[in-house]
Symmetry: C2
Subunit: 378 residues, 2 copies
């Protein structure tokens, strides 16, 4: 998988390109909304298209536990099951198993765990994760890794990284031995680990590039480490990844994180933040996030952002959104999510345009001059 | 207010017509989705339009308590506040006060009650209800009445009805002395009471027709009385109401109720049933309601109704809807509500067409032959 029409910024590591999949092209840099359980919370496929979503993420772990693979496979894969015609990326399931479940057994082979939903036993391994992602039919499949917990001693981080490398090699081997199930192509990304240790990160990047994946993710960040460590690790890793292949910073992040990481040469992002914050009444604008539930919005009969082109801003006032939140009206979770996802995509599109015009450095300065991180009073 | 282009069925009392308002025409018979707190639960104005909604109902009582009249008035009325460009009917607030609140005082003057939300004291009277509905700016305003509780002795029902008549006379007088606030016209409907006593219902209908309202509602039904009483009272009342004015059966009902009441000459209905049932996974089809959460739907990769033209049926399978319900995904409340509201409007449109073609009797036979009331296993 290659970034086509690649254009690079002359003063930062930012780049703009295009990824081709059998479900359509993806213009990068790109933000991927998270459809945890086969639905980007509160949004329909039509909403996603209208907000500018090009690719969404599905969580293998959640879909494995509910509805289960037999349902999604008999439905014809995840695209058909959720009625989404555009690209899908699925994670390997590893991250959630390590962070959410009571682990029964972790071994060289893989992981055995118990479902929180019904207590049933499940197994994940590189091979099983590949099988599941073949059943889901995602356009981009992630290798099975161990997300190193933070903080980790260098010894622990090294051990975890070595296991990840063995698991990723098995993922790649098994992926190559199997075929897509639904007539469209699938691609496999490797995941760089190494905690906050630059030399481990370098080793990991080199090791994975040697294996030869379709794209490379940077994992194990945004897990509690200082922001500056996250940027430093990203910077170290992107220096070593192939110029013409996609780079994906997993689980990131806030608008300001996206701008900084694009400057470090990242092409792809996913995060629950825009949808989760929306459901809590935190709405993003170019001036910073606002808390639309605040008393001061009670009679503000103006949209969240009067220049915003989303359905919410074109039709509804802050006073109404605030009222809907106070009344627990279901409509507001959708309206707020539409706005935030639209904002994220607008931010990515603006970065892409500035890269294509080679004015990204100026964009970055302007963005940080205007964007008030603390505006919502968080 | 007159029903234009009125066409009557030759063998039942069913009729089809058109009501003109400053926010557009309404083709009758019509079903009005309920937007209790300034939102038809889980649906946007765009969803409502696409499902075929011509007019929606707003609850004075709920809007009075939250967000309060000053917010809606400063927003420019309920249409602007909720971004709904088509007709709105508001109730008087009386029904909810009598059924939901701790009454502090009920007198000839009106009602004083305490808000469940914040304990604040509120007053409702014919004049206050008219003022509130002027502030809301609804196209159709309801007179302030006392909804007689069921069961009621004849003496109690008579007393309650007499009070209602005095309150409705005051509503009409005050309404005539006041002006619309937002440049569009408003119309006032009277409400017939009289519990399940045919002679009281007749007295009430005659008394209100003498006062001269723009339309007439049949109130105090669907409150626990036997279905046959509801139909008998509706039959008695519609015989006495002016042929060329709209008739509205309040709070009704299930699909089978709508068909029977249209046969008795009712033009307008409202009910929370389609949206509430949707949120509980009960979806309506021409073969009866189905329980989409049932285990038997787990791998049914077909729409709820393969001939249905709603967004939900055109895009999603029962297996997916069931999964979303099991996973508590917000999207499903909207998808299910879209389907049910669309079904209700399709049912009304089918009745209207059959009346215009003078085949309503046959429609009724066909409907009841096919529609299995108990299909969802309720």
């Amino acid at each position: 998988m290659h970034l086509e029409s690649l254009k690079s910024c002359s003063s930062t590591k930012a780049r703009a390109g295009k990824l081709r999949t059998d479900h359509g092209d993806i213009e990068t840099p790109v933000f991927m909304p998270v459809g945890t359980a086969g639905s980007v919370k509160a949004l329909s496929p039509e909403d996603l298209m209208q907000t500018g979503s090009q690719i969404i993420l599905g969580n293998t772990y959640h879909l494995l536990l509910r509805p289960g693979m037999e349902v999604i496979h008999s439905a014809g894969g995840l695209h058909k099951f959720m009625s989404w015609k555009y690209p899908v990326l699925t994670d390997s399931g590893g991250y959630q198993v390590f962070s959410l479940e009571r682990m029964n057994k972790i071994s060289e082979e893989g992981v055995i765990f118990q479902s929180r939903i019904d207590g049933s036993k499940h197994e994940l391994s590189p091979e099983i994760s590949m099988d599941i992602q073949r059943s889901l039919g995602s356009d981009i499949v992630m290798a099975f890794d161990e997300c190193t917990a933070y903080p980790a001693s260098k010894e622990t981080a090294q051990k975890s990284m070595d296991l990840t490398h063995r698991w990723e090699r098995r993922s790649l081997k098994y992926f190559r031995e199997t075929e897509p199930l639904y007539g469209h192509d699938q691609r496999l990304f490797g995941i760089v680990q190494g905690s906050v240790y630059p030399d481990l990160r370098k080793d990991s990047a080199k090791c994975l590039v040697d294996m030869g994946f379709d794209g490379y993710a940077i994992g194990g960040l945004s897990v509690g480490e200082p922001k500056e460590d996250m940027y430093a690790m990203t910077d170290v890793v992107t220096d070593l990844l192939p110029e013409d292949q996609p780079r994906y910073l997993m689980g990131v992040g806030k608008p300001e994180d996206l701008v900084r990481a694009v400057a470090l040469g990242v092409d792809m992002f996913d995060c629950v933040l825009p949808t989760r914050n929306a459901r809590h009444g935190i709405l993003f604008t170019w001036d910073g996030p606002i808390a639309v539930k605040a008393a001061r919005e009670k009679e503000v009969h103006e949209p969240v952002d009067k220049y915003c082109e989303c359905y919410t801003c074109k039709n509804f006032m802050r006073s109404y959104l605030r009222h809907l939140f106070k009344a627990n009206e279901l409509l507001v979770y959708r309206l707020a999510s539409i706005h935030n996802v639209h904002f994220y995509h607008s931010l990515m599109a603006a970065m892409r345009s500035s890269i294509l015009e080679d004015s990204f450095s100026q964009f970055q300065v302007d963005f940080f001059n205007r964007y008030d991180i603390k505006r919502a009073g968080e």
